[in-house]
Amino acid sequence: MTNSIPEIEDASCVLVIGSNTTEAHPLVSHRVFRAKLKGATLIVVDPRKIQLTLQADIHVPLNFGSDVAFLNGMMHVILKNSWHNPQFVSERTEGFAELQAHLEKYSPEKASQICGVPPEEIERVARLYATSECSTILYTLGITEHSHGVDNVKSLANLAMLTGHIGKRSSGVNPLRGQNNVQGHCDMGALPNVFPGYQVVTDENIRKKFETAWNAKLSDKVGYTIPEMMDRLIDGSVKGMYIFGENPALADPDTHHINRALDSAEFLVVQDIFLTETAKHAHVVLPGASWAEKDGTFSNTERKVQRVRKAVEPLPGTLPDWNILCELGARMGLSMTYTSPEEVFNEMASLSPIFSGMSYARLEADGIQWPCPSADHPGTLFLHEGKFTRGRGMFSVIDYRPPEEMPDDEYPYLLTTGRRYAHYHTRTMTGNCPTLHKEFPAPFAQISFADAEKLGLKDGDSAKVISRRGELVTPVRPGDIVPPGSLFMDFHFMEANPNVLLGTSLDPVSKTPDYKVCAVKIEKCPAET
């Protein structure tokens, strides 16, 4: 996030796009409600009538996957009415002329044809966002989990820069991270192109620094992303795989493909606290400790590093994960003997400028937000104040591209997926919480009243959902949440896991699979006798 969570409540216009905030980030939606109580305008852009739309001043039910067209339409209107911020544009950005020329063709009428939002509505949203004193954008996987996710994110950046709604208190572009430490493992360099602290592996000086510190020869070649790893397991060019605390057998799209990849591994190690679907494929399973049984830190979605503290001893037979990794490192002959997570943190901070001012002692009270470059630096509440990381902000010229797979005669419905409030990811943790299990024991698919009637489906009936890649059976719940022609499923349950239906079309830049849109057909299952 460029801003902090508490700042949201002081925004005067909150634009929520592709984020089911009340279910996925409950304590962020709380700040959105407060902003609303303080008089902010709340705009929710989402094809579904999610809970947040009930509080919204405007709900924009755009067509699935048409975000770029909608956002370009908004920007067209903003420029036409001179609602943009020329001072911000000239002082802080580049590439404006190209963007301006490109947006010519996205009149609200043209945008409307693609996104299904009436031109007047595009204009109204554009005016409210652009002319409010302090506008902010919140987005989640609804924006990024598309085969054109990077386009969506860049379009949002265009919009914020055009109007100068970034780099201020309560005003910016804020991705809400799904899992507790998604921010953290990126920060720690568990990515194929960067070392800890986002220092690129292709920079020779940076590489030298790490080679000296770790006393090892390091590669200057960007590594494989997860989808590439899976493909290479199948073609045999990757033979050994180590999976730490993740469950791709259930979480990744196109389950059959992933299972084949995992089974192709010559040697597969899984480190986890439960025997997950993925662990069942492994040659070695290493039982780690849960978060309550070890010390460390997490980084939340507002870049704040906070302490995790050991409350109870690890379950007999298990080891804290940092211990396991140190043991492996030592056996590999690496300098990885640490006596505590604090020592690991200090080594990391000494090598990463954005963390160099942090220590466990300083994190003790309330945590610190990076960048925090020195011991007397208070941390950074919001990013891009006065200057972007790269100097000037670059506008990108983005065209609307339709989703890879759209409904057709044979597969007439559009399937989309997401989270539920009581569960988390593949339920390895929440499925083992009796209270949460009781709250939400089984999956169901949401369908519109009109389609349910057409298919002869009543609440609780079972339907067979078929895509080009697989099929499953799920109970359905008709309602007014999803628009006609579509179906919504969560990805928490193994017994009805939409990932067997989804494709593997990836965003060409970020390699994010298209989790949000795929074409399916729906058949009523005969009643059991």
Partner: protein, 135 residues
Amino acid sequence: MDYRFVKTTCPYCGCGCQMLLEVLDGNLIGTMPHKTAPMNQGKLCIKGWNAHEFVRSPNRLTTPLVRKNGSLQEASWDEALDVTVSRLREIKEKHGGESVAFLSSARCTNEENYLLQKFCRAGFGTNNVDACARL
């Protein structure tokens, strides 16, 4: 009686709510919101309130497992760690470090993620480490 509250961070979503784990004689018995944390100010969602429940689930793994004759069998820590390193090292020597890949965890701590990428980069000379940040 040893009755304590331990301040920690919620293990679920990216909000990072601060919570107090309630510990009685070494057992985790409850979760409470932290009242003065600027982020959540005394509130938690339903997942957070029940975060302690999975920690002592009977489904937890309690021993390393090693595949022998096609099935996963209980093994000692020494055996499991030795097999892991010797097999990975063998693959590296035969096919190069590029033939090994690591998938890191959004659920584990920063320190553990740091250690994993260090193990990958320094141990195998490859940048084949990724995380499901994009997932």
